[in-house]
């Protein structure tokens, strides 16, 4: 079994929820490796933010991309080389603010990639501003009087955008994360996981979450309406219980399948095809 630890020095703060995500993705990948997944065919893509350093800490091919652009980069990689297993890691500021449009389109297209969002509900790397999932009234560096915006529910957005796999994890629950990561990577299509990941330095929510989280049981993940009901149970703002687990999964054709009839031509067939195509315009 291959060690997935990379030599880079870890600079996350003590108590950071990112450690749980890192600790869960390694055994999840190793378990898949035992079942035949070639780890050299795995590509990790990260954005910009504290989460993004995971690209340095995982011993697989990785692409440290641009703030907000994990999904377009991951989509490009998957389309260019559909045999790869592509796993995106993004932050909530990264994916739900600067890059929100890409999230909607990844779900709409159903690209066969996995997206794991480290949702700590604060911009950690820039020292504590509110993000799209910070609760109403959140007091941060740019909202001394408390934010007057209500948070958005990313799962509801992805569901309504056509997402084919939606789940939620919590950084204080590695076993569930391992299960969810495995299911997400095995899913054929866009697999979206919102991970409630605690920023111990700028927004410590451990107590809040510990009192409210529960794992989904007897939930019909094939039912859109059952998923929507569970997803709406907690709106990232209210005092409700917080469901964790797989909310929804369905089988849909993937985006890259629509390109599969385009088999790459080799010379001289390629040259002949180009010539006849150009001649058809004369």
């Amino acid at each position: 079994m291959r060690s997935l630890s990379a030599p880079a020095k870890n600079t996350w703060c003590p108590g950071c929820g990112n450690f749980a995500i890192l600790s869960a993705i390694k055994p999840a990948l190793n378990a898949l490796e035992e079942e035949g997944l070639d780890l050299d065919r795995v590509v990790v893509v990260s954005g910009i933010g504290c989460h993004a350093k995971i690209a340095d800490y995982l011993n697989v091919n990785s692409f440290y991309s641009i703030h907000g652009r994990v999904l377009p980069v991951a989509t490009g990689i998957k389309l260019a080389n559909p045999d790869l297993t592509v796993i995106g890691f993004a932050g909530d500021g990264d994916c739900y603010a600067e890059g929100l449009d890409h999230l909607i389109f990844a779900a709409k297209r159903n690209v066969d990639i996995t997206l794991i969002v480290h949702n700590n509900r604060v911009y950690g790397l820039t020292t504590g501003q509110y993000t799209p999932t910070s609760p109403y009234g959140f007091k941060g560096r740019s909202t001394p009087g408390g934010t007057v915006e209500r948070p958005l529910n990313p799962l509801e957005i992805v569901l309504s955008s056509g997402g084919s796999f939606l789940g939620r994890g919590y950084s204080h629950g590695i076993e569930l994360l391992k299960t969810l990561f495995r299911q997400a990577i095995l899913h054929k299509g866009f697999a979206f996981l919102d991970v409630l990941q605690v920023c111990a330095t700028f927004y410590n929510m451990y107590n809040y979450y510990n009192q409210r989280v529960y794992e989904l049981k007897d939930h019909d993940a094939s039912s859109y309406s059952a998923a929507l009901k569970k997803i709406r149970e907690w709106d990232y703002n209210s005092e409700a219980q917080i469901a964790l687990g797989l909310f929804y999964q369905r089988v849909l054709p993937t985006y890259e399948q629509s390109f599969s009839h385009l088999s790459p031509l080799v010379s001289p067939e390629r040259e002949e095809a180009i010539r006849s195509t150009l001649e058809s315009y004369i």
């Binding site: 440290y64 703030h67 600067e98 509110y130 560096r141």
Partner: protein, 347 residues
């Protein structure tokens, strides 16, 4: 006037508030975030608008909207965010809208790091987006100027109905120095009769950058060029240091000019007649002043935290082919000893 120890990024907001700035739109980015924080703290206290936008693009387009309504708008970012804002900036320039944008330059290209650099020079000074347009660009080299030039940038932006950029860097943004507060807030008459206020009086006003007719667009462009020529004629600002008898002139702006100044003093102690020329306005660039130094037989050394971007402009302005260059990249400050070494070489 009160004097207080202030961080450079905070001084920007103090200057903006004295300039009557009433809207701030930003997005978190190191090393500019303190401007966002200061705006969020002070703007609501005095009834001014502050929004942390969902993206850099959203922030600059909020600027576009509020500026078109005649408001005094400020945005701040750093290199990666400035790149994202370029689309909005060219539209603002094309539509002739005033606004002030602060760039706390960090090291690039790409993600680079959060150390200081002056490598956004070409992007900011030459335009940065598509089309033939110019930003007015001012380069502070102290906390005092972070405040004072922000104020001045609002004046110029409204005088010429044009985006004005404060080009600073990560050191200036984070250094703490005594700041003498402005004597008074800007109260003089600001003509916003061109704006679109959503009322009967301004119904007839049109703010646009689209001119589908080729000749009409050419006329619009020529009008812009004429405006830039007026800016070049009237708004050049610079500082000279020990230039009277100087034979070797360091050209340097921003934080690099602080180090250059020390290098001039050190060279003088060795008997080398060195001086420093500091452009305060990077656009308009002080071309004539540099030309007259060249006519006097001065030799130039460009001292910059970029790969000769400033040296190119010094070469063009002076007509001298052999402008020497002292530079550091990657977030490193220039060492005074490196400047001194180059001065000795050239002398």
């Amino acid at each position: 006037m009160p004097v207080q120890l202030v961080e450079g990024n905070n001084a920007v907001i103090i200057g903006a508030m004295y300039a009557g700035c009433d809207c701030f739109f930003g997005y978190p980015i190191t090393p500019a975030s303190e401007i966002l924080h200061a705006a969020s703290r002070y703007f609501p206290l005095v009834g001014r608008k502050f929004v942390q936008a969902e993206s850099e693009e959203a922030a600059i387009n909020m600027v576009y909207g509020a500026a078109s309504a005649g408001h005094r708008v400020l945005a701040a970012s750093s290199g990666p965010g400035m790149s994202l804002k370029q689309e909005g900036i060219t539209y603002l320039a094309g539509a002739e809208l005033p606004c002030v944008i602060v760039d706390i330059n960090r090291a690039g290209p790409g993600l680079g790091n959060i150390g200081p650099e002056q490598s956004d020079y070409n992007q900011v000074v030459k335009g940065g987006g598509h089309g033939c347009y110019q930003n007015i660009v001012l380069a502070p080299n102290s906390v005092q100027e972070m405040c004072d030039l922000t104020r001045k940038a609002f004046d110029l932006a409204f005088k010429y109905r044009n985006p004005a950029v404060i080009l600073a860097d990560g050191v200036l943004g984070h250094m703490v120095e005594p700041l003498t507060y402005p004597e008074d807030a800007i109260e003089h008459y600001i003509d916003t009769s061109w704006a679109v206020a959503g009322n009967k009086q301004t119904m007839g006003n049109l703010i646009t950058s689209i001119f589908l007719n080729f000749d009409e667009l050419e006329r619009h462009n020529l009008k812009l060029q004429k405006k830039y020529a007026t800016v070049r004629k009237n708004e050049v600002a610079y500082e000279g240091y020990r230039l009277e008898d100087a034979r070797i002139v360091l050209v340097s702006y921003g934080i690099s000019s602080r180090i250059s100044k020390s290098a001039v003093d050190a060279a003088r102690k060795e008997g080398i007649p060195a001086g420093m020329f500091r452009p305060i306005s990077l656009y308009p660039f002080p071309e004539q002043e540099i030309r007259s130094l060249a006519d006097r037989g001065c030799r130039f050394i460009s001292v910059e935290m970029s790969n000769g971007m400033l040296a190119d402009d010094v070469r063009m302005a002076s007509g001298c082919k052999d402008v020497a260059l002292v530079f550091r990249l990657g977030g490193n400050l220039i060492q005074m000893s490196d400047i001194l070494k180059k001065i000795r070489e050239v002398s």
